[in-house]
């Protein structure tokens, strides 16, 4: 550390223009990628866990529920796609909460950037994780004999729909991440919410046999509608109403929870 170098580096400090909202958000997304690069084990929950889900549900329940594993695979694969990706959204809140305990957040908050950029960027990074999970599930499904009626195009559309919904749902968990005190509390609260919602849906079983009130709930559950829409897109017989409901719910969640998260992030002491 020489004085001349020090003075040189101080004297040559640039004065750039502020980055755009998109550029700042993408930079935060890059930060998320770098963390995965340094600790690849972080990808376990989007690789190994979905593999276990697919194998477990197909072979453990397939015979009992649908009579044959091959038949059940057609039903369960889009469901497992939805479930795995939505479970992963809880971690967006957990990692935000973990981030808050570190000094670097103070620096981010004192930068002259678009206020939601750190949050949007982190969720963009998480969306790539959702994509990894989704791809793993579909590839494994095909290996096990799943043949989507709508081909590659249908699968891509279904993946896109699930990721858009997951991005929106993540805002709920980032809000929780800012309200609760510890990463564990966020995880517990998150799964306490997402577990019943996922199981009380048509992800695993056709709700036709359920008692009235339960069936009504399952039918109205946005997760059921997302699962139906994903099945429809993959099979090529999607109902546009389902897609409209999914996108509408996603827009609503984002409109409510994105500003709330941003406000909490900015004002949290």
């Amino acid at each position: 550390m020489t004085e001349a170098r020090l003075h040189n580096v101080l004297a040559t400090a640039p004065r750039p223009r502020r980055p755009s909202a998109l550029s700042a958000s993408l930079t935060f997304g890059w930060r998320g990628m770098l963390k995965v690069k340094h600790v690849p084990e972080q990808l376990m929950d989007v690789t190994l866990t979905p593999v276990l889900f697919v194998l477990m549900f197909t072979y453990l329940f397939g015979g009992a529920i649908a009579g044959s594993t091959a038949e059940y695979l057609d039903y369960i694969l889009p469901g497992i796609l939805v479930m795995s990706v939505l479970f992963t959204t809880v971690y967006s809140g957990v990692s935000l909460n973990t981030d808050l305990t570190k000094g670097v957040v103070d620096r981010f908050r004192s930068l002259p950037i678009w206020r939601p950029a750190p949050l949007v960027g982190a969720l963009l990074g998480d969306s790539l994780r959702y994509l990894v999970a989704g791809t793993v599930i579909v590839v494994l499904g095909v290996a096990l004999g799943y043949r989507p009626g709508a081909g590659v195009g249908g699968v891509v559309l279904a993946l896109a729909l699930v990721i858009v919904f997951a991005f929106a749902l993540s805002w709920v968990f980032t809000t929780l991440g800012l309200l609760l005190r510890s990463p564990n509390a966020v995880m517990n609260a998150g799964f306490t919410g997402i577990f019943p919602l996922t199981f009380l849906s048509n992800v695993f079983v056709d709700p036709e046999t359920l008692p009235g009130p339960l069936k009504a709930f399952v039918d109205a559950n946005p997760i059921s509608i997302l699962a139906s829409a994903s099945r429809g897109l993959m099979e090529g017989n999607v109902e546009s109403a389902d897609i409209a409901v999914v996108l509408g719910t996603a827009a609503l969640l984002t409109a409510l929870f994105a500003p709330l998260t941003t406000h909490l992030y900015r004002t949290r002491t």
């Binding site: 040189n8 580096v9 223009r17 980055p19 930060r31 670097v104 103070d106 620096r107 004192s110 002259p112």
Partner: protein
């Protein structure tokens, strides 16, 4: 309050203030962490805020860096209100927090490139800038290592480097050398001096009078959220007595003799709790050396001696009549609990 000629920014008029607060108040729960702080920091100067843990230093800095909203009073940075014009303020300041404000899970280089990008540099420029900074701060060899494996001194240097990726008019340094070994501390001081020479206004929070004395043009002493003394380092030292000769003897039985001799040479002598140690206020190195020589001539065996700046405790004792007790419990814990 008088100031010396500021370094750098000579084109600015003498009345230009980089930081100006008036009646700044912040409470956490029932505790007033900052209780009516008035500061006036000239552009281009280094201003030290001296006080024990929990005195309100960090809370003040966090309000100035737009991270906390004041409950009352006002604060302006280069003429911009920290609440109404927070975004403008963010474009002018950088913060080096007490908790290192760098990302531990990234490498040193990635941290600097990330900030360069977030501040609007193109990829190419951000990478070059990161390399230059790492080189100048003696971190080139560690640039590819994760920051969590850095030593405290390296982390601090990276932290300051992160604050100057782009030009910043005002820098907030919150206890930049707390917990560092003397060599790392000197490196950080060199960096602060270089920054000051470039004309950056620096607000430096510290627990060490020595540090404020070394670096700052003006000092505010803060206690329980209030400024209790203010002035140049020399004014401050003059008001509290500027130092003391500390002597440790080999043989505690010789302390009465030593006490008599030192009292003759330097007037007041203070007997330390350690039965072999005593101290006497003294600002003049030659007189201190003379006094120690006198002990030695009289056959008093001296184990060690030092001439030191008054500690924060002595400063507080002189200014408030109470020692600089750790005030963390009152203010910062309240803050923690609310967070």
């Amino acid at each position: 309050m008088s100031f010396e000629q500021p370094r750098g920014l000579t084109s600015m008029s003498r009345t230009d203030l980089a930081i100006e607060t008036s009646g700044l108040v912040k409470s956490f729960g029932g505790t007033r962490a900052v209780d009516g702080v008035d500061l006036a920091v000239r552009a281009g100067s280094v201003y030290g805020v001296l006080g024990p843990n929990g005195a309100g230093k960090t809370t003040t800095i966090r309000m100035l860096a737009t991270l906390l909203r004041p409950d009352a009073g006002s604060a302006r940075v280069l003429g911009h209100d920290v609440v109404a014009e927070a975004d403008e303020v963010r474009g002018l300041v950088s913060l080096t927090g007490q908790m290192a404000s760098v990302d531990e899970e990234l490498t040193g280089r990635e941290n600097l490139v990330l900030l360069g990008r977030l501040l609007g540099l193109k990829w190419r420029v951000a990478k070059d800038r990161a390399a230059d900074l790492l080189d100048a701060f003696g971190l080139a060899d560690a640039s590819g290592r994760l920051v969590k494996h850095y030593s405290g001194g390296m982390r601090r240097r990276l932290d300051i480097a992160a604050s100057i990726v782009v030009t910043r008019e005002v820098m907030f340094l919150d206890e930049p050398t707390t917990g560092l070994d003397p060599r790392s501390r000197n490196q950080v001081w060199d960096i602060v001096r270089a920054l000051a020479a470039e004309g950056t206004t620096i607000l430096l929070c510290t627990q060490y009078l020595d540090e404020a004395d070394q670096l700052a043009d003006g000092i505010a002493v803060i206690d329980h959220g209030r400024v209790i003394a203010e002035g140049t380092p020399s004014q401050l030292k003059a008001s509290i007595g500027s130092g003391a000769l500390h002597v440790r003897l080999l043989d505690p039985d010789q302390r009465p003799v030593a006490e008599r001799l030192l009292a003759r040479e330097l007037s007041t002598v203070h007997l330390e709790p350690d039965p072999a140690a005593l101290s006497a206020p003294c600002a003049d190195g030659n007189r201190a050396a003379e006094a120690v020589a006198e002990l030695s001539r009289a056959g008093v065996r001296v184990a060690s001696f030092s001439l030191g700046q008054p500690s924060l405790d002595e400063v507080f004792l002189a200014l408030t009549g109470h020692p600089a007790d750790d005030q963390t419990e009152e203010a910062e814990i309240a803050e923690e609990e609310l967070a």
